[in-house]
Symmetry: C2
Subunit: 347 residues, 2 copies
């Protein structure tokens, strides 16, 4: 048994938020909401899917007959490059702070195949996704300080299309989370003379208990401060601050890490494991970004089974996140999960 099986709190050094850990609590009975599992018999091409090759989208355009990845501007983007006229007249009062926001939202189809998710793609096709992320990061970061690359996977995570895809939202302002991580990493470097995540990576590798997977360039851990039951941090072992700096070797190793992590996730409950994941990179308008290290957060909601998730609700929304199994227990489960996808081998 881990040394952490008592009620305690841990602090997330990237955001300053605490999480309440109550390892005994997973024993309570659950009569509440259950989620639908993802459908498992999807066709390889769906006539009605706006993301499949050749199909019609929301407006009157048609997708090309793409055979790797495919990127288009979100037809209903939350951000547009257009600056509103009203923005000039915004009042300034500390209780009514408001600012105009401009940016771009794109959709990235990971594969032409409607029925494949990331873990079901071969590593070289995941590498195509990594290359596509890099290409659009480089293009958008030339114009916008803050480029958010993320994926919502599964209906329970608000994903409205099963076709494998992610998104990019880019904007000039720094989002709240990037502001927090920027301040924390900068502060840490000022105080300790070293890089926050570099130090963290070293400590986790030395300790080993929360390590889920590593290769030459990437580490996957259940972070010490994980809020979601099977939350992981995928972080570069090298001094890489954003996608623009990735070498071929780092990109290939990243595809391998994603393949293993997402396969293990699916194997925890033998289901297509829902999550939201996304990348945090150094803002592109910094003079010095040496306190940054590129990383992705995976936030999967499932807690007990393919259909019972953790609800981050009352206490969590009004006080702080609370978790029902320790990060160390979650890491053990993910470490022991098979690297062969449950739909393939006989486990």
């Amino acid at each position: 048994m881990s040394q952490f099986e008592f009620t305690h709190r841990r602090k997330n050094p990237l955001t300053g938020n605490w999480v309440l850990v109550s390892p005994h609590r997973n024993n309570r009975p659950w009569l509440g909401a259950t989620e639908k599992s993802a459908p498992s018999n999807l066709p390889e091409h769906d006539e009605t899917c706006p993301l499949c090759p050749g199909n019609q989208r929301a407006n009157d355009t048609h997708n090309p007959e793409y055979d790797k990845t495919f990127v288009f501007t979100n037809d209903f983007g939350a951000l547009t490059p257009h600056v509103a006229e009203q923005a000039a007249q915004l009042e300034t009062n500390p209780l009514f702070e408001i600012e105009a926001a401009t940016g771009e939202c794109r959709v990235i189809c990971f594969s032409p195949k409607h029925n494949k998710t990331l873990p079901e793609l071969p590593a070289n096709e995941i590498k195509d996704v990594v290359d596509t992320w890099k290409q659009h990061y480089v293009e958008l970061s030339a114009q916008y300080a803050c480029v958010h690359i993320f994926e919502n996977k599964g209906a329970v995570m608000g994903c409205s299309q099963p076709h494998p895809h992610g998104q990019v939202w880019a904007h000039s302002h720094l989002s709240t989370e990037i502001q927090l991580e920027q301040a924390s990493q900068h502060q840490y470097q000022q105080t300790h003379g070293s890089n926050l995540l570099a130090d963290y990576v070293k400590r986790e590798i030395a300790d080993g208990e929360r390590v889920v997977y590593q290769n030459d360039h990437w580490l996957v851990v259940v972070p010490f401060w994980a809020a979601w039951p099977f939350e992981t941090l995928l972080v570069s072992k090298d001094d890489v601050r954003h996608f623009g700096q990735l070498t071929e070797a780092q990109s290939t190793a990243l595809a391998d890490a994603i393949k293993v992590l997402t396969t293990r996730y699916d194997n925890v409950f033998n289901c297509s494991f829902p999550y939201s994941m996304g990348w945090h990179c150094a803002p592109s308008d910094l003079d010095d970004d040496s306190h940054w290290r590129m990383h992705a957060h995976f936030y999967p909601p499932l807690l007990r089974s393919a259909t019972v998730k953790k609800h981050m609700v009352g206490y969590e929304m009004l006080a702080e996140s609370q978790r029902d199994l320790s990060p160390e227990t979650a890491a053990k489960i993910l470490k022991n999960a098979s690297d062969v996808h449950y739909t393939e081998g006989n486990q």
Copy 2:
């Protein structure tokens, strides 16, 4: 049309978090997850419900035959008064901050009737709930600095029992949200010489656009910085910092405000409107709490209908909250909703 129908960000002065507002975005089609509505034919007493009067709970105790409210210690509480032995040996490293946590978790049944929610109770029975909140706040705040009183309503908000109930979690440490609100309110008073929420209440009443309801002692607004589609702030108009200070008149007026607000919520989509709500009070260990004002946040997830909610997922978890209709539009809808519950009158 409101002056705010363009893409912008607003800052929450209580937490420092920003929210991205994209009012045009609610027009996009929705093919994603839908939620089940709450069952509408529940019995007044359910043999299998662990919260109904006289029934057996998880351990071998039986509930009394209560006829107003009823409070018991959560059989699976996330916090217990017990201090773990291991807590003494916790290491201190800025990347691995950890502290032991102790406290108490209680469940508050709002009514003996299994099938009634807050808006369906007469105002005098809601007043019983307010008095119960006050009683347990006073009792627990004598021992713990931070007392969180909240309600998760509806299965979509992780509520595992339809029987009307809320919770109290009390602990010695200040939770992340209370720490943030404490710092912001204190800072504001230092800078401006006045109380943050007192100033805010004045401005909102003068402006009127976001006001949903008010009586002699309470104001309900869709706050300028609302993140959830129909989020509201229920705030005292008087210099009241915590439950212990509530007068009879203020408690009665609070019951009236809750009756109206929750009735209007249910009438927006003619359904039992799910939400998480909770109270923020001054920590009880402050020498001077004059910068505080007692208030409740209501966070309802529904966006478009009784079954389509807003998903706070990828971008929201990794960047900042994003909303698809302006707070002013939401306020208008809540202002115009009927005060007669949809299950009663002919609307």
